[in-house]
Amino acid sequence: MSLRTVAAFAIFFASASPSSALDEAGRGSVVRVGRFYLQSNAWVNLHQRLIQEAKFGVSSPSSLTGDDLKEWKSAVAAYDQFIGQRGPLDEELALLNAALSETSGDTLSASIPSAAAGILRGIMPLYERTQWKEDDAVNRFWMSVEKPLLESAEVELAAAHARAYGTFPSRIRVDVSVHAGEFGAYSVGEGDFAHVVISSTHPLYRGFLGLEMLSHEASHAVADSAETAVIGAELAQAERELGIKPRRNLWHALLFYTSGELTRRALAARGVADYLRVIDRRWSGPFRGFKEPLETHWQAFLDGKLSRADAVKKIVEETSK
């Protein structure tokens, strides 16, 4: 069973429990729009904050000084040891994040590794006293901005993604957090379920861009580089037929293009004529050399003028030159 499947089952079963209804009670708040379940959860935020400081060197909460700061730094050091060299997609860390996402009260699930549970439990009072209120306010503001965008376009965007990929998750849990990994968001889950952690402060996940990235992140549950996934299957087929190895991040560029273009269309229908897709900010970076092939062949696919397999094949051919 793959990590994604494990995480998806964990999320599915846990989400079925009444404890998922945090609303204004407990530590955090919830916004539900169609298939999206957005929340600001103190345990997830603390976990993400500790990881971010341990692994990516972000500053400690600015309000901390003296003994408080010492206590915090010691928790960060212990968390650094617990995490080791693992990334957030590591099976144990994905399950840990899923369990925290389900926790609204003081009691942590027994499924959480004791090393992590001890640190989180020990430092939570300090976090709550000094930083959580501010983090929660920022998360709530982010959710309040995204909510009307989702209410307006979620059904339309999900249908458009389902047309592009053949499927789209019907249940998307989104943990909104001031920190959310190296790139500002990440996703686990598979098929019908996606669990997203997304940043409430990163400029690339804000306002209209937030709408695009909510779809983009959820798409990771159905489309990726694996041969069993959408996009990955077409890339593997193209590789077999052409004898050309696709560029390593081509699958991800296709995801960016898809959610970006579908969001652009949805916004254009709502009077936003100048939306700049995330990928349009990346052509000269990691997606160098992809612009023309994607704008020609993937656009033709999204316009219904080319099959997905044919589009991928042409793109693989042209990006390998």
Partner: protein, 323 residues
Amino acid sequence: MRIRRIVLAVLLLIAAARLDALNERIGPWKVVVGRYTLQSNRWVNLHQRLMQEAMYGDPPPSALSGAEMERWKGFVDRYRLFVARRDPIHNAELIALNRALSDSPDELPAAVPEAAAAVLRDAMPLYEPQWVIDDRVNRFWIAAARPLLESAGEELATAHEDVYPRPFPTEIRVDVSPLAGEYGAYTVGEGAVAHTVMSSTDPGYKEFFALEMLFHEPSHAIVGPNSRDAVGEDLARGQRETGLRAPPGLWHAILFYTSGELTRRALARRGISDYQPFIIGMYERAYSRFRASLEKHWQDYLDGEATRAEAIREIVLATGTKE
């Protein structure tokens, strides 16, 4: 032929009903948040569209062609004659007309001058298909702006009151329309009452800019160039003290700076640390000579490090010209 026309009419009715349903899903046509009423009103939108085409040569609704286009152009010509050289910010009849339309979501109000009423009444059936699109765009804009006002509205109103210092308007009507005058928005009203028309499609009034502009625009009800207005009063005193004449656009630049900076602060408290106030983009176009003194002296005032009189005096000294 007749049957085909009937079928076409029925299909158009069904399509319009579906689009109306979609618009309902996007959000309500009218939203009240504290002192603000945001609304999408068909008469105001038609009035603004006819004015925009008549005065600034904007293109006609894209769905029109052939005989319908000719009729539409005729309506625009008649509206051009009605509006003539008057401008909607200073002309009393146009101000009253826009207000009367704004008060009437359904029927064309009797208070509208007959020359305008006749055009609006005749043009409305042609405008209807475009109105469905305009209304959707307006409702989306309103839906997106609403949480910003809900979160930061009162905080920003208080902050503006502290700066000017005058009571901020308490009754702010915002008519949202794709077309809203030469600059994308304008405001009439004075003191406690402000009536703003704001564009739902102009990039300068979108996302977080919307929040800034929802404060910039009603500020016009209390801020202005005259000695009875906030800022204008300060500039008059600054001119007397320095013997220099303040540049004509300075009062407006101060208004832009104020709403921009206060919005930047409000957003920073909400996790948006990189908001670029609208005036940043204007420095290159219109306000380059004001930039240094605003960023030094007006910023000092906003930070509580200088009095308003001191800040204005320094700004007039830096930007003013000899009488």
